[in-house]
């Protein structure tokens, strides 16, 4: 398990960062603020990309650094890749203003 490097910044976070290439089915242990949990990665996660550390419901805020980084576009299971396909920014959304 130690061969995979990850970073889980805060126990409030719903995502963690891969600091090495993570293959599908990789088991990773995450620790933050004396909180520890084990996750099985569902799909390959590239260096620097994020994965869900718990199930996230569609519309829920996604948290990293203990702060909101966007909202889930779909339901996201724990261990799934979290990126622009299932996370949308909430700020600067001129496209969402009714004209």
């Amino acid at each position: 398990m130690d061969e995979y490097k990850t970073l889980y910044l805060s126990s409030k976070d719903s995502v963690a960062v891969a600091l090495s290439e993570l293959p599908a089915q990789a088991d990773v242990i995450l620790k933050a603020d004396e909180y520890e949990l084990g996750i099985t990665i569902l799909e390959p996660i590239r260096f620097g990309h994020k994965f869900a550390v718990k199930a996230i419901r569609q519309g829920d805020d996604i948290i990293k650094y203990g702060e909101v980084i966007g909202a889930a576009v779909t339901d996201i299971p724990a261990g799934a890749h979290v990126h622009v396909h299932n996370l949308e920014g909430k700020r600067g959304r001129g496209d969402k203003i009714a004209k």
Partner: protein, 390 residues
């Protein structure tokens, strides 16, 4: 943190400010004069200039901002003297910019191409003045100065998911150390603070500063809202997304760590000189060259630039120390990058250790060590235009 007072060898200017470089700047106030200025720098060693597309058919606050940027660039203490070069008929009249720069007491000459009968005679005239100015500049001796006289700009460009984990927090430590030494650190790129403004406002020196922090964020965010677009179509950029950043808020939370932990003393306008020491937020866009130009025009003698994707960026008058967020890019683009903070992600160094290493590099570069972008003559310049061209 440091206990000892840090010093460097700098060039004292007539207005009391200190430079870490001793350039003669040929400052073209209009795009039409940039090629002529370029020719002079090819003839006369010790001179620098830059290419740009501004200086005419500008009005109102957009005119003011461009004028402030030109004048600030000329007044930057890294510049010994300035030859302001105009065409003659442009809105940004060379003599007005020249008069503004001359207020700080340094040598300033103003020349216009139309008054000198064309390109070739202007080149000869500017070159003659430049020869004299470069020789005068070469006789200025460096003297021992305190770090409290430094204004250090900070920025990130070509960010990746490591930016907020390695290089940006390390620059944050450096920023804290600069402030502790009594100096000034500039945080910029308002766009890339959208989503992190509440954290910065909490650190504001007073209510007014906090209000201005929220106000500049709102103005920047409203630009995308008025255009009816998702800001993510432009920022984060394709390279940021490739590197693992999914939203502007995520990028911003990483970018804001460059500010360290000290009190936010003031929020200033683009290309404005800070009126306070300590941590200062300059309202700039996220565009790498535009924010760099704004900070240098505001008086920054040195800029720290973190990058995950890699960049050649440099300024004609200020050394830019480029810091890699990850080791593979530092190795791949070594000719462009000065320091590696990827060691934090590799588990080899702490954020504090890299912050100290950046501080040591600031000292070396202030004393004269050339950065990669200076050696490669990367003379970038770009003004944040806030109005249309007429």
């Amino acid at each position: 943190m440091l206990n000892e007072k840090m010093q460097f060898w700098g060039y004292r200017r007539p207005d009391g400010r200190v430079g870490v470089r001793n350039h003669v700047l040929i400052l073209p106030t209009i795009t039409c004069a940039t090629q002529t200025a370029q020719r002079v720098t090819e003839l006369v060693s010790g001179t620098v200039t830059f290419i740009h597309q501004h200086g005419c058919a500008q009005v109102g606050t957009d005119y003011d901002q461009t004028a402030r940027t030109y004048a600030g660039f000329g007044m930057n203490p890294n510049v010994y003297g300035v030859i302001v070069l105009g065409l003659g008929c442009e809105t940004h009249q060379a003599h007005r910019i020249g008069d503004e720069i001359a207020k700080c007491g340094k040598p300033v000459e103003t020349i216009s191409i139309q008054d000198h009968g064309g390109t070739l005679q202007t080149i000869a005239e500017v070159a003659k003045i430049a020869v004299r100015m470069v020789q005068d500049a070469s006789m200025v001796q460096r003297e021992l100065c305190d770090f409290s006289e430094l204004i250090v700009g900070t920025e990130c460009g070509g960010s990746d998911a490591c930016s907020g984990l390695s290089a940006n927090p390390a620059v944050g430590r450096t920023s804290d150390m600069i402030v502790e030494q009594g100096g000034t650190a500039i945080l910029a790129e308002t766009t890339e603070l959208i989503g992190a403004e509440h954290l910065l406002a909490k650190r504001a020196a007073n209510d007014q500063v906090a209000k201005k922090a929220y106000a500049v964020i709102k103005m920047m965010e409203n630009r995308s809202i008025e255009m009816g677009v998702d800001i993510r179509t432009g920022n984060p950029s394709p390279g940021n997304i490739e590197g693992g950043l999914s939203s502007l808020e995520e990028k911003s939370l990483g970018a804001s760590t460059k500010s360290g932990t000290t009190r936010l003393e003031e929020v200033i306008d683009y290309a404005q000189q800070p009126t306070k020491k300590g941590l200062v937020w300059m309202d700039t866009p996220g565009h790498d060259i535009e924010q760099l130009t704004g900070m240098v025009a505001g008086g920054a003698q040195i800029v720290l630039f973190t990058s995950g994707r890699g960049t050649p960026t440099g300024s004609p008058i200020a050394p830019v120390i480029k810091i890699s967020t990850n080791t593979p890019m530092f190795d791949r683009m070594n000719e462009n990058m000065d320091l590696n903070a990827g060691t934090i992600v590799d588990g080899e160094e702490t954020v504090g250790e890299v912050g100290m290493r950046i501080m040591d590099e600031i000292k070396s570069v202030s004393n004269g060590k050339l950065t990669k972008s200076e050696i490669l003559k990367q003379h970038d310049f770009g003004i944040w235009r806030i109005g249309p061209t007429f």
